[in-house]
Amino acid sequence: MKRVIKFILNGNTVSAEVESHKMLLEVLRDTFELTGTKEGCGQGECGACTVLIDGVSINSCLYPVFEVEGKSVTTIEGLVGEGGKLHPIQEAFVARGGIQCGFCSPGMILSAKALLDENRAPSDEDIKRGISGNLCRCTGYVQIMDSIRDAASRLSGQD
């Protein structure tokens, strides 16, 4: 079955006709052509498809698209500001080596955002827990942890 759904996408109200069996991931990538959100496993295990819905991190590969009606979705593209200015978390990942192949990065960065939005001064344990749903095969997580610590201090500096 098809329906027109209306929701907020990266700050803009949008609508689209979608099919009932589609997950949010496909709709973001195909209908809205926002390819930053990736499919890594389709099973909710790797976190490459992480987006924020009303500020909360979810796996878009398992999120039925009808459920997004009226909600606010943030994808990695939504973190980039005016004139292509990167969000402080994105800047921290760039500065501290938190990105290698880049495939896990959008999901990882959004999980970091969800963590830092809730806890501005996370411990190392908090950080590991916060990204425990985001698999990375390249970095060994060490420089990702460095990046998130750096992001936390950048954001605190802003407060």
Binding site: K38, E45, F103, S132, G140, Y141
Partner: protein
């Protein structure tokens, strides 16, 4: 030691911002107008005859544009022994076998169509261990060889026999000998970005293929041969490579799915994309070669190694691919890790109905090192010598040669000692058994200066300067996440005299980028940076030649302009007229200046200014230089088996402190340290990233990863059932040290370091467990199940 401006710094990689913003495009993100979606039907049996394929229902499904099988397409043979086929006919030999494929207007229709294809099989009995494959009367996986000659057994005829000296004599002369068996498992590369490609033909029937590959030129060659098989001899292939999403060896060969995509594109006349999902990635790509090793080593009374004898039995799986060539790399630690005066190495490779294997980071070295380094500890124990001391006694040294491997720089001793110090070896080794704690270590020896496994180990660079002093570097190498682009831009900047932000790396297009054998064997940065240095030198020469004529006149113009604007400006008294010599100039920080007066602000102009001056004039010129660097290494001689595969080698050591829970067998890592002879880091940040990342793959190999095959069927093809480390598993300090030996051949002294970080990780942990609880786990992964079972066995005795 020389001070460099950019080499050795921690500059953020140039590709990071796009990746952080979600703008970087991977194969999964690419679409082409009119593109169709391909999907493959795989075998339902490990071993069976194909009786009949009924594609009629699939063909009739609306939206399906092509259905192909081995029966309605030209035969395309793949693999270096040509025993594999893009689409299988007559027989399937593994669950991975591609039996049919469809192209449809959307992925869901393609999947439905694949389900509608009916294949009738006659099941054959299968063999699932190399031992069974060797038995008398075992079913033949391949009844004929690629030339059609009947085969008599499942043994693959590859010349994997090497020896030096007299092992038997050395055995008699040994004071201590130990012998044991070791095994390693199948593991998967698990790139986060899964495999795929998009193929299309132009109006002249030339092929353009976007693919997730590490070997654009060797792939181009393979695809050209496929075109010949398709009746398109003389047509060309262009390979275009997007960002890879990780590779770890998966892109080191061409795959069935690529040829199938090509066939579908040709059949339909439209671009066709095949993208593997995660289950398909696990099930249908080629994992790391498993191994069964019998090892015997001996030493004299003083602990000096007398010989090493290694016999391996390798499960090749159904078709021959790079997994079968891992012995050529295993040869390296077997013959040369520590000083081994006599050695013998034989590897037997056997067809089975399991999955075949290809390349994975380390390419055989982790498998061999697992056996060698465990057995070294066993020998040290028998000889009554501390394992660290034992390694120092037998350490390799610089400026020596071992079985044709020319060791130039060697930081092994420093690495071993560094690991020992940071683990507090003397204080802890053998002293914490009451707490079920122990320390252990292992070393590594790997290629660091290219690797000549093909007729050329070369790489080309084209360096193009524009009117603004920007430098565009075209390379045949591939950025797969390892930091290749960063290393190349830093090396270019350093060698040329510009800043890294002026350098952009262009990669991944065989139409525009120069030839490169492939980004593998840790050779990417090493070869490309050396080529860049050569190209940069040529560019500097041209720049200074041009400066000899144009520098002073340009300076004069600038000063005259200034005088016009500011009448009070006093014109400096320079000799503008005398001819200059190129040797008078230098280029640094994007500016060309006179060597003799580096501080004089008037005697300096930007590179861009000079380039514009020489371009925008009558008979002007622009600067483009190129270089092809092929390292000074040699292939293994077919007769002697010897060859200096690499122009330099990396060394390293890793150590672990562990604690075992005696009730559950669970292992806790308390501390992990590593020390690595890297020559010199080009980018300190990305090189650390390589070692951290490799170590964590090493932990997975050691402790948690295993593809479980049940009669050839992959039973855990997803992340729920196949476990790699997540951030929470890194619950111990991981401390990595870089040792700089400043290699004479390496670019700025650097060695290639993509792989070594995961080579000795498993035996370092295994050796630590032995120190803790006196049991040695001999097969990977080391699991609580195995530890508990081994403890029970020990208690029985």
């Amino acid at each position: 030691m020389t001070d460099y401006t950019f080499v050795g710094s921690e500059i953020p990689r140039p590709d990071a911002p796009d990746k952080a913003a979600g703008k970087a495009l991977f194969i999964s993100d690419l679409v082409k107008p009119g593109m169709l979606y391909g999907r493959i039907k795989y075998s339902e049996y490990a071993h069976a005859r194909i009786k009949h394929i009924d594609t009629s229902k699939a063909e009739r499904l609306p939206g399906v544009r092509a259905v192909i099988t081995g029966y309605n397409t030209p035969e395309i043979r793949i693999g270096f022994m040509k025993d594999n086929f893009a689409l299988k006919k007559d027989k399937v030999r593994q669950f991975r076998d591609e039996v049919a494929a469809v192209a449809a207007t959307d992925p869901e229709i393609a999947k439905e169509a694949v389900d509608l294809i009916r294949v009738e099989y006659e099941e054959l009995s299968g063999v699932f261990t190399p031992e069974d494959a060797l038995k008398e009367g075992a079913p033949l996986i391949h009844e004929v060889d690629p030339r059609g000659k009947p085969r008599k057994d499942n043994v693959i005829q590859l010349p994997w026999n090497w020896s030096e000296g007299d092992v038997e004599k050395a055995k008699d002369a040994s004071a201590f000998i130990v012998e044991d068996n070791y095994e390693t498992q199948l593991i998967q590369q698990t790139c986060m970005g899964t495999a795929g490609c998009i193929a299309e033909f132009d109006l002249q029937s030339n092929l353009i293929i976007h693919s997730k590959t590490q070997i654009p030129y060797l792939a181009q060659n393979d695809f050209n041969q496929a075109l010949v098989a398709m009746g398109l001899k003389g047509k060309s292939t262009r390979v275009i490579v997007p960002y890879l999403g990780g590779s770890f060896g998966t892109g080191l060969d061409t795959h069935g799915y690529e040829y199938i995509t090509i066939l579908l594109a040709y059949r339909t006349g439209r671009p066709v994309k095949i993208l593997l999902n995660r289950v398909e990635e696990f099930s249908y790509l080629s994992p790391r070669q498993p191994s069964k090793t019998h090892i015997i080593q001996g030493c004299d009374k003083e602990g000096k190694l007398t010989f090493r004898e290694v016999n391996m039995l390798l499960d090749n799986g159904a078709y021959v691919s790079w997994g079968a060539t891992t012995p050529t790399v295993m040869l390296m630690p077997i013959s040369t890790l520590y000083q081994v005066p006599n050695f013998k190495y034989h590897a037997k490779i056997v067809y089975t109905n399991n999955t075949y294997c290809q390349a994975m980071r380390g390419y055989g070295n982790p498998q061999a090192t697992w056996a060698i380094e465990n057995n070294m500890d066993q020998l040290a124990e028998k000889a009554g010598i501390d394992p660290l001391d034992f390694r120092i006694i037998n350490r390799n040294e610089a400026n020596t040669e071992s079985f044709g491997f020319k060791i130039t720089s060697c930081g092994l001793e420093e690495c071993i000692r560094s690991v020992g110090d940071r683990l507090e070896w003397k204080k802890k080794r053998g002293k914490q058994k009451a707490k079920a704690r122990g320390v252990g270590m292992a070393s590594l020896f790997h290629t660091g200066g290219g690797c000549r496994i093909y007729r050329s180990d070369g790489t080309g660079i084209i360096m193009k300067l524009d009117d603004f002093g920007n430098v565009s570097v075209s390379t045949g190498g591939i950025e797969m996440g390892q930091g290749f682009n960063s290393a190349l831009s830093i090396a270019t900047a350093e060698a040329l005299g510009v800043t890294p932000d002026k350098v952009s790396v262009v990669f991944g297009d065989t139409a525009t980028c120069p030839w490169d054998v492939g980004t593998h064997a840790s050779r990417g940065a090493y070869t490309s940076c050396n080529a860049a240095i050569l190209a940069a030198d040529k560019a500097r020469k041209k720049i200074f030649d041009l400066a000899a004529t144009h520098f002073m006149p340009r300076v004069k113009s600038i000063l005259k302009e200034r005088q016009k604007k500011d009448p009070n400006f006093e014109m400096p008294d320079f000799d503008f007229e005398s001819p200059r010599d190129p040797s008078e100039f230098d280029l640094k920080g994007n500016s060309v200046f006179l060597r003799e007066e580096p501080e004089n602000p008037f005697l300096r102009i930007s590179l861009g200014e000079l380039l514009r001056a020489v371009h925008f004039r009558n008979q002007g010129t622009m600067i483009v230089t190129e270089a092809f660097y092929d390292p000074n290494n040699t292939m293994l001689d077919p007769k002697t088996g010897k060859g200096n595969l690499s122009a330099t080698y990396t060394w390293g050591a890793q150590g672990a402190e562990v604690e075992v829970d005696l009730e559950t067998g669970e292992l806790k890592i308390l501390n992990f340290v590593s020390a690595n002879d890297v020559g010199r880091p080009i980018n300190k940040q990305t090189i650390m990233g390589q070692f951290y990342g490799a170590s964590v793959i090493g932990f997975g190999y050691a402790l948690s990863e295993e593809i479980k095959l049940d009669k050839g069927r992959n039973m855990n093809p997803n992340f729920l059932d196949y476990k790699i480390f997540s951030a929470r598993d890194l619950n111990f300090p991981l401390n990595i040290e870089l040792i700089e030996t400043n290699d004479p051949e390496g670019p700025f002294g650097a060695k290639g370091v993509g792989e070594p970080g995961l080579v000795p990780t498993a035996p370092a942990i295994g050796n630590a467990i032995y120190d803790a609880i006196g049991v040695r786990i001999k097969s990977l992964p080391i699991t609580p199940e195995k530890i508990l079972a081994a403890l029970k066995e020990k208690d029985k005795k």
